[in-house]
Structures are given as C-alpha cells and as structure tokens.
C-alpha cells in the first residue's frame, strides 16, 4: 500500500457502503480489505476513532482528519475472529480486549491479549455473545506486566481511593521516589452498559447514554441524540440546536472550573479549590434554576431538548459569564504568579505530541501537547459553524499546559455562552419555538456522531431496528485513549506528583469501564 493512497480511495477499494448508515459511510469489507486498512494505517497518520464488536462482526471508526474523511469499516466474522489493529494503533488494544470479553471474538495478533473488564465475577462469560458461556469456576489470576532488575518496589493503589473519586487500581513500580512504570487495572465500575442498551427503547437508551459518564452528561446526550437523529433522518429544530450548544458549553465551563481547583488542591493550594469550586457552584445553581437540573441531565433528548431557555435565564447567564470572566482572571493571575504552585505543575507529567497522536488522545490532553483536534470544528456540528471561537492549543504537554488549555477554554466557552444568549435575547429563531421533533416510530437505521465534551470527543454509534428498538449501540468515551497516555505521563516523575497528573487529565472511569 503506497503512502499516497487517500483514505477515501482505499475505502472505495475495500468494500461497498452499507445502505442506511449516516452521515459517514459504513463500508462492509472482507478480511482482505480489513487487513489492507490495517496495513495502510501503519504508513500514515489516520485516526482510529473507535472499535466495537457484535456477536459475529466487528467495526472500526477511522478518519483522515485533514482530508475530512470519516468512515466506519465493518468486517463480518462468522468464525468470530478478526485481524487486530493493536500493532498499528495502540489505542485499539483495550477496545479489542473488551470486544474479546464481551462478545467472545478473537483479535488475531492482539499485542496484549490479557483480560480487561471481566474479573470472573459476573456469573457469566462473554455476556453479549450469541451464546454466553458459563462462568469459569477458577478465573485465572490477572497477570500484571513483569518487572525485571534490582532496587524497585511497588505501590498498589485502589480500587477504593482516598478521596471522593471513582474506583480503579494503579500499580506503581518505583525506584526510590521515582516512578518507573504505572500500570492501570480498570473495569471496576463495569455496569454492562452495552447489554442494557441492547433492546432498549430510544427513550431509555438516551437515559443510559446520559449516565455513561455523569460529569459529561450533556455531551454524551448530544452524541447519542445526534447518532439517533442521523439514523432516522430527524431534523432538529434550530432552537434546540442552540440550546444544546448552550448546555454543552456550560458543562465545559463547570468541569474546567472544578478541575483547575482540584489540580491546585493536589499541590496543597486549598484556597484555589475553595474559590474555583465556589464558581462551579454558581454554574450549577443557574442550571438548576434555568434547566431544572444542576448537571442538566436528560435535558438533551433525541429529537431536540426537553427544556427551553427563558429570557430571564438568558439574562442571568449573560451576567454570570461576565462575573466568571473577571473572577477567573483574578484567580489565574494568582495561579500564574505563585512559584510554589508552578513548581508542581511546570514540567510535571509531560507527554509528547507523538504519544498523544499515536493514541488519538483528544480534548485538553491532546491539545496541551500540540494535537489540534476539536470535534466542534472537525468534522463539526451545528451550531458551531455559526459561532466564533478558537481552539486553544499548547505545546509543552505538562500539567501546566493542561491547566492552561482549560483556562483558555473557559474563556472561549464564556464567549460562546454570550453569543448563544444574544441569539435568544434577540429572539432570532424566526418565530420557530419548537424544541423537539418527533422521533418516528417503527423506523430503523444506523447512525454515528461525535460531541465534544470538556475531556474530549464522545463517539456514539447506533443501530435501530424496524421495531424502533436499539439493536446495538456503542458509546466510546474519550478516556479510552487518554488513560494509556496517563500511564506514560508519570514515568520519571515522583509518586507524589501522580494526583496532579491524574487530575489534570481527569479521565472517566465509568465511561471507559462501560
């Protein structure tokens, strides 16, 4: 495969588009075509956006971002075995381990074939396979990566952590204070989301999607709703499109405020935690008063939104944006002029552009290391094409850069909130007050969509049957591609800096544990 082949011409060669998949094409490839995609990925920088199984099929979402080519490639595998992407895209490793365990598929040549989510406690194996298996009476012990050499010791942490935080296990191998390797063992909060989605009504599935990761509930709901709308050809009323963006930006602001405060707190600068979490609370209270939910859960629904923005609420958010802008600026000045604070964040937990690119790590994690990708811009979705905003990108890749991406994103999101609010204050919807379009009953289809959360882009893929029920839905959290980068970020740092690194990433456990 020559390096000059474009993704779109390769897609033409490897298979035919499947009818009824929107908006990206879904190409049904044969084994040869699938393998030639893997071979081609080795020689270029196309992005692997997701990989998910079915009982007898596997799908991969790929993109050539500069060329604006986005597609799903599928392989029917009646023998339940498929060639692995792991050797060319390390981000595929955990996704393939998951497909193996949930569906009983085999990823041939998987570079790390150990189990991932299944600890042997579910009472069933391969729960989503055509014929699930009896549980193993003696589940094998999980083998951590072997350590060689002298003078090292290990620090096991979790699953239950010291703070108010999700569970996961971190195994630090150290030499003195210096971490030589961090290995994550996740999956503790696996809830069987894929199995609950299967056969669900669209309404119930939307509730599940909203709770894949509660901190990014709005973005999750937008991704799921847009996938359903693509599948069923639903046009969303303009008012709802703008309301979604409003809620999405408020969610981004709230989470960034919380995380900046928490990063500072991990450097024992508790004053910043108090201040930033106080600001976060202002957003939550405005959300409660305006949208009836502090996190705006279930406010974005397939077809539109559940709630409107009153003139009073729009004015309040306009004022809140101004308050936040000035108060954040004051606090940022404090952050940036405290040497004892910067000493903890500058050059701590550095990750390279090469590394974030190889995993397609998105959000602030990618953008702090120079990876200029934001799904609001590319492939983009409305109403962001009508809004003015910058995507801040930094190069240093350390905790400080991740904090700065968040600072700049708060500023950009505040501008977005003001632009959206003015649209509502000017009653700029041509008298169209509809909030939701009908979701047609008894129609099927397949759809895919992305939505940019504070931590990166959520991907939702859905297949709806002719009975209007979900046949298969896969929700891919950006954390899948950020967790492995976090492992690398702490190498060569001291154990005490891990909380700072971890908070600066703030990956979702629940979102990736499914």
């Amino acid at each position: 495969m020559s390096e000059t082949t474009s993704l779109s011409s390769l897609l033409d060669q490897i298979g035919k588009p499947v009818e009824g998949h929107r908006p990206w094409p879904r190409i049904a490839a044969d084994r040869k075509g699938w393998s030639s995609l893997i071979a081609a990925m080795a020689g270029n920088d196309w992005t692997l956006l997701g990989l998910w199984g079915e009982p007898k099929a596997v799908h991969v979402a790929v993109a050539d971002v500069p060329a604006a080519t986005y597609a799903v490639v599928s392989l029917d595998c009646p023998e339940r075995s498929f060639p692995s992407f792991s050797a060319v895209r390390p981000g595929a490793i955990r996704l393939e381990r998951t497909a193996q365990e949930l569906f009983g598929l085999t990823a041939e040549g998987l570079t790390d074939p150990r189990p991932w989510l299944d600890y042997g406690w579910w009472g069933v194996r391969q729960p989503l396979a055509e014929t699930p298996l009896e549980p193993d009476p003696n589940p094998p012990r999980y083998e951590f990566l072997p350590i060689d050499g002298e003078g090292w010791h290990q620090v096991p942490v979790g699953p239950v952590h010291a703070g108010i935080i999700e569970p996961g296990h971190f195994r630090f191998t150290c030499n003195g204070e210096t971490v030589i390797r961090l290995e994550e063992r996740l999956g503790w909060v696996h809830k069987g989301v894929d199995s609950l989605l299967k056969g669900a009504t669209i309404e119930n599935a939307a509730k599940l999607a909203a709770r894949l990761s509660g901190d990014a509930t709005v973005a999750n709901s937008i991704a799921f709703a847009r996938a359903v709308e693509a599948a069923l050809g639903i046009e969303v009323p303009p008012r709802a499109v703008w309301l979604r963006a409003m809620m999405g930006e408020l969610e981004r602001i709230a989470n960034h405020l919380g995380d900046i405060g928490s990063v500072c707190n991990d450097a024992a600068f508790a004053f910043m935690l108090a201040e930033f979490h106080g600001l976060r609370e202002l957003v939550a209270q405005a959300n409660w008063d305006s949208f009836g939910h502090r996190l705006m859960m279930d406010r974005v629904i397939p077809g539109g939104t559940l709630v409107d923005l009153s003139i009073g609420a729009a004015t309040r958010y306009d004022e809140l944006a101004k308050t936040l802008r000035s108060r954040v600026a004051g606090l940022v000045h404090i952050y940036d002029t405290k040497p004892s604070m910067l000493d903890r964040t500058v050059t701590t937990g550095t990750v390279s552009l090469e590394l974030v690119n190889s995993f397609a790590a998105s959000g602030h994690v990618g953008r702090a290391s120079g990876r200029d990708f934001d799904s609001r811009k590319t492939p983009g979705y409305p109403p962001y094409d009508q809004l003015e905003f910058r995507v801040p990108v930094f190069q240093d890749g350390d905790v400080n850069a991740r904090v700065w991406v968040r600072i700049r994103e708060i500023e950009e999101s505040l501008k977005l909130v003001e632009q959206i609010v003015s649209k509502f204050l000017e009653k700029d919807f041509a008298g169209d007050d509809r909030l939701v379009s009908e979701v047609p009953a008894g129609v099927g289809g397949e759809g895919i969509a992305m939505a940019e959360a504070f931590r990166g882009e959520y991907l939702a893929w859905v297949r709806i049957g002719a009975d209007g029920l979900i046949q298969r839905c896969h929700l891919r959290d950006p954390s899948w591609f950020q967790w492995p980068v976090l492992e690398a970020s702490i190498e060569g740092n001291i154990v005490a800096d891990f909380p700072l690194c971890n908070k600066s990433f703030n990956c979702s456990y629940t979102g990736a544990d499914l």
Binding site: I164, V189, L208
Partner: protein, 179 residues
C-alpha cells in the same frame, strides 16, 4: 492574592442556610432509634465515600457538599481518606459486581459503630443500571443500609437534609448482617 483574601473576609459568608432535616430521613432513622451513641461520638461524624459503580454524577454532588456554599464541615461532618477513621460509609452506584468485594471490605474495615448511607437512585436500587449482568442492584444487598437518599443525583441540599437527620437522630446502626 492578599487583596483577594481581604475582600473575601470583608464580604461576609457565602454559605447558604442549612436545611431542616429531611422528614423522610428522620422517619427512616427514627425507626432504628435506640440508645445515645452521640455521647460517644460527640457532634461530629466522619465519612468515607465509596463509589460502587456510580456514573460519577453522585460524586460531583457529594463533592459540592464540601464547597463554600454548603460547607459541610460547619455541621461537624468531614470526609476521611481511610475507612478506619470513618463512622459513616456514603455509598453510590448500583454496586458493580466488580466492586462488590471492595465495597464489603471497605465497609468491614471501618470500626463499629458505623452507618451506611446509600446515595442516589442507583445505590437505592431504582437507577438505570439495575438488572444488568454486571450489577448487584443495590447497596443494601451487600452491606446494611441505614439511610437512603434518592435522586439522580441527589442535590447537595438533599444530601445535607438527609445527613443532618443522621446526626440529629441518635441512631443505632442497622443490623449487621452482610453477605
């Protein structure tokens, strides 16, 4: 920064008034009211939060309890890092089966007397994840629960109302029978 601090001192408190104890919670707790454990514990309770499969929504609101508006510590509540220091286990999530053992062991590590508060619809058994192969279903199936606080997620003010009931009642922990 000094200017900032001075402004904060001069600006008066930002905390909101504490809510009255939730009647529902008082009723649930009163049912188990026995002898005065307060005398032993004083007016303070130490919490240990355990996420047993939450979507992280409940955690955000539990976090908010500590912010300057709700300021949990003024009521004598505090979160501890270790269950060994805790009086109350605050548990969220439908209890993912992968977390069942960890939940039990964390609870078991806390000294007696101890209480368990199930936080959120999931923990109470009425959340969206109940019924999956990977979930136990509710906290009470794994450790004895003294107080249920519903909501998805419950707001900080709801949490506060429930917790104030916990400290105002003089309760004996629910019967210790854990699986």
């Amino acid at each position: 920064m000094l200017k900032h601090l001075l402004k904060n001192v001069a600006g008066g408190p930002v905390t909101i008034q504490g809510p009255a104890a939730s009647t529902e919670a008082v009723e649930e707790l009163a049912a188990r009211l026995q002898k005065l454990t307060h005398t032993r514990l004083g007016k303070g309770l130490v919490f240990r939060e355990i996420d047993a499969g939450s979507c992280n929504g409940c955690e955000l609101e539990i976090h908010a309890l500590n912010n300057i508006v709700y300021d949990l510590e003024r009521f004598g509540f505090r979160f501890a890092a270790s269950p060994r220091h805790a009086d109350v286990m605050m548990v969220t999530g439908p209890v993912a089966k992968n977390m069942k053992e960890a939940l039990f062991r964390t609870w078991d590590a806390a000294p007696n007397p101890k209480w368990v508060v199930a936080v959120g619809d999931c923990a109470c058994g009425t959340g969206v994840f109940a019924g999956s192969y990977a979930c136990v279903g509710k906290v009470a199936d794994v450790v004895p629960v003294d107080l249920h606080i519903k909501g998805c997620p419950p707001r900080p003010i709801d949490l506060l109302a429930g917790l104030i009931a916990l400290i105002e009642s003089t309760v004996a922990p629910a019967e210790k029978k854990a699986s």
